[in-house]
């Protein structure tokens, strides 16, 4: 089973990377680009059989390691 974790900085936390991309896009002539934010995508292969259990485990991984909940929010997708 495959799990995907999307980790983004919380609203209100300044995102220097996103800002820089925004800047660079406009320098490249792309207009009408509003806020850009950059986050992380982590994909995992799991040997779980039950999607619900897998999700629980991945949530645990996020809380313990994958995300820094002081500054980051995460979302889990199970499947594929």
């Amino acid at each position: 089973m495959k799990a995907t974790v999307r980790i983004m900085l919380k609203q209100g936390v300044l995102d220097p990377q996103g800002k820089a991309i925004e800047h660079a896009l406009s320098a490249l002539g792309f207009s009408g680009v509003g806020e850009v934010r950059q986050g992380k995508l982590i994909t995992l292969e799991l040997d779980d059989a039950d999607p619900a259990a897998a999700r629980e485990r991945v949530r645990d991984m996020c809380e313990k390691l994958l995300a820094n909940t002081v500054i980051e929010d995460y979302e889990i997708e199970i499947g594929e």
Binding site: G12, V13, L14, P16, L65, N68
Partner: protein, 224 residues
Amino acid sequence: MKSALLLFPGINRDPDMARALEIATGARPVPVWHTETELPQGTDLVVIPGGFSYGDYLRAGAIAARSPVMKAVVEAAGRGVRVLGVCNGFQILTESGLLPGALMRNAGLKFVCRTVRLKVENDATFFTKRMKRGDVLPCPVAHHDGNYFADEETLKRLEGEGRVVFRYAEGTNPNGSINDIAGIMNERGNVIGMMPHPEDRVEDLHGGTECLPLFESIVQEVVA
């Protein structure tokens, strides 16, 4: 006085730190490998040096913060043992929850190695006893993720309780850190983290010895 120097794979400023501690305290720190579950008997000070523990992969300091030895450090800090984290050490301390906030990518997005001016904001800590509030020291920084961030409430507490130990002096903030914060301490005052590298400014070779008194403060504090 006995200091323990934590070693994680990927740490690289441990020789610098060991040397500074030896110059100031006369004793070499005891190296402690990350797999240890206990600190050496009678440890007065735990030091987490700089570098790139686990390559700074995922987030700077994230993986090291979850290592066995950090459990022992959290426990020791709870008993009041002094802990100093520099650069990657600071990142590890925030990741482990011993210090609040987080260290994000530098605002300029690039690694930066330069000598900044470091202002002492709190001269009552175990690392600043020999300094005076308002003292400004030249001190190198060398990091990619030193942009300190904390939410408003945390920040208010840090500032209100005098827990900002060091600030980048005006015009020298190298990383966009909020309120120019360069180093902070925990509520109890026994855990200090900072991004700059005072251990690289303690010999004439380094262009000056201005940061040596910081390390000498430790001796004064521990012996007292």
